[in-house]
């Protein structure tokens, strides 16, 4: 079963998200990524 780890860091603060739900991870990260990229593109 696939396992996924995603980390975000800001300074010393770090968020780590891990799951074996590939679809959920993909949707969630894609949502954030698109929002961030869209914002940077503006």
């Amino acid at each position: 079963m696939p396992q996924y780890v995603f980390k975000m860091k800001k300074g010393e603060l770090e968020i780590e998200f891990s799951s074996d739900d590939a679809e959920f991870v993909e949707q969630q990260l894609e949502k954030w990524r698109e929002e961030i990229l869209k914002k940077h593109a503006q």
Binding site: G11, F17, S18
Partner: protein, 454 residues
């Protein structure tokens, strides 16, 4: 399916394990919002999101590692139907508690943001100081997060009321209540990523509502200037208005055109108007004849048309038998005698304006100066037109008919505008047609910069 979330700072960790996708999604959106809005610096560094599928630590492994890492770690568990939440703060060193108030700050930050968390009741209360309170207010200000509650004095207030709040007492007696209140506030607000990002853009979240989290970075975004340096043109654009953006794109287009024209090996078959008027002066055999690819003329013409209509005009000039290597791979002049003639003519320019006789072709004229920049070449050509051809003014088309065969470059309006700004070129309106002429200042600049070299 499992969903593990770990929030870690230097002194504490928070781990959430859930098997509920919806709960996890909401939690993660909140965490994401919390960090994402932490600072513009953080956002600016997000370039790429990667997903790794190796070396995953299960919740059991994390817990195990946490215990192994530090025996001082204490943790308590809070469990409801769908959640297992853990807080594992390090045991606070009593000797350092007054010098490290950020321990409380971090815990507060995490607790306020996350439901179903609890502080280990065995944890020693931290003695608060005014400096600690200021630090907390400062930190929240830095994170652009402001939590207000007008109805409960125990909740952490805004920085304006921060010093009036006894955080120590609040923490001792009401920390769980604070967490729950803060959580309720979050629950009452749409914290979807879209709404958060919209709020960053200043579209939705009202600044007047005291019961919401505020993101106050709108002005910071709007005030960011456009700064693009065009090193080739030696110009820097600042500003945030459309005109400057247009200028930038216009400049880039010009650069692209020039790059294209520089790269092309065009076998051009043209003589400039001066030669047409003075056929006896320059004959074909006086010009280096290069014909690297005579059959490619049509193709080159097509390419040029795509690049610029000005180039098209030049290519459509009357054809002749002379073919010039505009790349300068076989630079003129080739022999010493010819060079001496050119240099001698150039030396005589300053004092020989009245000299009548054979007029140098601009290609030969230009070759004596060693100029490489289009600005210089344009100025030299302007000087040439006035002093060698004795034309008082010229059009862009005319001057390009000199420059392009000699250099392979096309002068656009940005060039002449730059020279006008320097005072080297002036404009003349002749019956509604704008023409240009080299100024006295331009001639002086030309003389000082180039004639000394010869």
């Amino acid at each position: 399916m499992y969903y593990n979330i770990k929030i870690k700072s230097q002194k504490s960790e928070f781990i959430l394990e859930s098997n509920d996708k919806n709960v996890t999604q909401r939690e993660m959106d909140i965490y994401f919002a919390y960090i994402f809005n932490a600072s513009e610096e953080f956002k600016s560094k997000i370039k790429k999101v990667e997903i790794n599928n190796t070396n995953l630590k299960s919740i059991e492994e994390i817990e195990k590692l946490a215990n192994e890492r530090n025996n001082e770690i204490q943790y308590s568990k809070f469990q409801d139907e769908n959640h297992i939440a853990e807080i594992m703060p390090k045991e606070i060193d009593q000797t350092q508690k007054n010098t490290q108030p950020e321990v409380l700050l971090e815990q507060n930050e995490i607790n306020i943001e996350h439901k179903n968390c609890t502080i280990n009741e065995k944890q020693e209360p931290i003695e608060q100081t005014n400096q600690t309170q200021k630090n907390i207010a400062s930190e929240y200000k830095n994170y652009n997060v402001e939590i207000k509650n007008d109805t409960n004095n125990n909740l952490i207030e805004t920085e304006t009321k921060q010093e009036k709040t006894n955080i120590e007492q609040t923490k001792k007696s009401n920390i769980e209540e604070i967490i729950e209140l803060a959580r309720n506030k979050i629950d009452s607000t749409d914290l979807s990523v879209k709404s958060i990002l919209d709020s960053i853009n200043g579209d939705e979240i009202s600044q007047e509502d005291d019961n919401i989290i505020k993101f106050d970075i709108k002005e910071e975004i709007k005030s960011q200037p456009i700064k693009i340096e065009n090193t080739q043109e030696k110009e820097i654009y600042h500003g945030n208005n459309q005109n400057n953006v247009d200028n930038i794109f216009s400049s880039f287009e010009n650069m692209q055109n020039k790059e294209n024209s520089n790269k092309q090996e065009i076998t051009i078959t043209t003589l400039n108007e001066a030669l047409e008027k003075n056929e006896s002066i320059q004959k074909a055999d006086e010009i280096k004849i290069i014909s690297q690819n005579p059959t490619s003329l049509d193709n080159q013409n097509t390419t040029q048309k795509e690049n610029t209509t000005e180039i098209q005009e030049k290519i459509e000039l009357p054809l002749d038998e002379i073919k010039i290597d505009i790349l300068g791979e076989n630079q003129l002049p080739e022999n010493k005698q010819e060079t001496d003639i050119i240099l001698q003519n150039n030396k005589n320019i300053e004092t020989s304006n009245e000299i009548k006789g054979p007029i140098l072709d601009f290609t030969l004229f230009l070759s004596g100066f060693g100029a490489n920049e289009i600005l210089d070449e344009f100025l030299i050509c302007a000087y040439y037109i006035k002093n060698m051809l004795h034309e008082e003014n010229f059009s862009m088309k005319f001057i390009n008919s000199k420059i392009f065969p000699a250099t392979g470059k096309i002068a656009d309006m940005s060039i002449i505008e730059a020279l006008i700004r320097e005072g080297y070129i002036s404009t003349i309106n002749i019956d509604g047609i704008i023409k240009y002429t080299i100024t006295k200042q331009g001639e002086e600049y030309f003389a000082s910069k180039f004639q000394n070299k010869t």
